[in-house]
């Protein structure tokens, strides 16, 4: 009975969390993996974002946006509006601009 219970527990756990996490992790590796040399730097992205929306930069980090590797710059605008700006890490092109 105890052995039966243990096997059942092991099978259930194997089916659930580790499996799910491992599956997602494998598919997710590209989202967090660092890219090669960035032609467009984080500092340039911040500068560009501040020109578009003057204010305080609260965060600037590497993020994916619709499959593209971008610099995400979050700004608390002087106008009271919060902005999220996404710039392509290779070209510096604005990929998305969102008001929060």
């Amino acid at each position: 009975m105890i052995a039966h219970k243990s096997i059942l527990m092991a099978i259930t756990l194997a089916l659930a969390t580790p499996f799910t996490v491992a599956t997602f992790a494998a598919e997710d590796s590209s989202a967090t993996a660092p890219t090669a040399a960035h032609e467009f730097t984080k500092e340039q992205a911040i500068e560009k974002a501040l020109k578009a929306h003057p204010g305080k930069v609260t965060k600037a980090y590497q993020d994916t946006k619709k499959g593209q590797q971008t610099w995400e710059v979050k700004i608390k605008g002087d106008d009271g509006q919060k902005w999220e700006m996404y710039y392509d890490m290779k070209t510096g092109e604005l990929v998305a601009e969102e008001a929060d």
């Binding site: 799910t20 996490v21 967090t32």
Partner: protein
């Protein structure tokens, strides 16, 4: 004091307890790694780290929900849905008894607690599903990226609204769950939170 008064038995099996406390940790991390009441404090932390934490906490919750669904059918007696899921009539009638301090004590989940579990698990399932859809559509990442790539901005906005609404609803439900636990603990003079740690309850 008789021996009968102090006899304790295992009610919550180890996996139910692990599920419960990992879920508490994962939901807390997922919720508070995004914008919330600690926004000013979060500004001090690395954005990429917060994003990764949020996504991984979400994956953990997805795995836990899958586990709980299976365990609800094959687990020990008090872990099974058949042990604690009751109809609306019984649930309402029990809630009335709770409010009038006449509710009987249950060894496993009482009807109100059982209903709360169903609602909590449903709300979490919708939150996680919307989160995965959003991750695929907005970031082009995660297991649903192939399915969701090319989604319109309006669709992304709607999915985000659903994700946030149900995350907030889950938090409200958690507060309701805590009130229920405290109320029942006082009513029946037993520490239900402690029982979820040790698995033991008075027989």
């Amino acid at each position: 004091m008789t021996e009968h008064d102090t006899t304790e038995i295992i009610v919550w099996d180890p996996l139910v307890r692990l599920f419960h406390w990992i879920l508490v940790a994962a939901f807390t991390l997922a919720y508070f790694s995004q914008e919330g009441p600690f926004e000013d404090w979060l500004e001090q932390l690395d954005g990429a780290w917060l994003q990764t934490t949020h996504v991984w906490a979400g994956y953990t919750i997805a795995g836990l929900l899958l586990f709980r669904l299976i365990w609800g059918f094959v687990g020990p007696r008090h872990a099974r849905f058949s042990d604690f899921v009751q109809g609306p009539r019984q649930t309402w009638s029990y809630l009335k008894e709770v409010l009038t301090l006449r509710a009987p004590r249950y060894l496993g989940h009482n009807p109100a607690g059982g209903a709360m579990i169903v609602v909590l698990l449903s709300s979490l399932t919708i939150t996680v599903t919307a989160g995965l859809l959003l991750y695929g559509a907005d970031k082009g990442a995660g297991p649903l990226s192939g399915l969701m790539m090319g989604a319109s901005d309006a669709a992304i906005h709607s999915i985000k609204e659903v994700h946030e609404f149900f995350a907030n609803l889950t938090l409200i439900l958690v507060v309701g769950h805590l009130i229920g636990v405290i109320w029942e603990s006082l009513l029946h003079r037993e520490n239900l939170a402690h029982a979820m740690i040790t698995g033991r309850k008075r027989a």
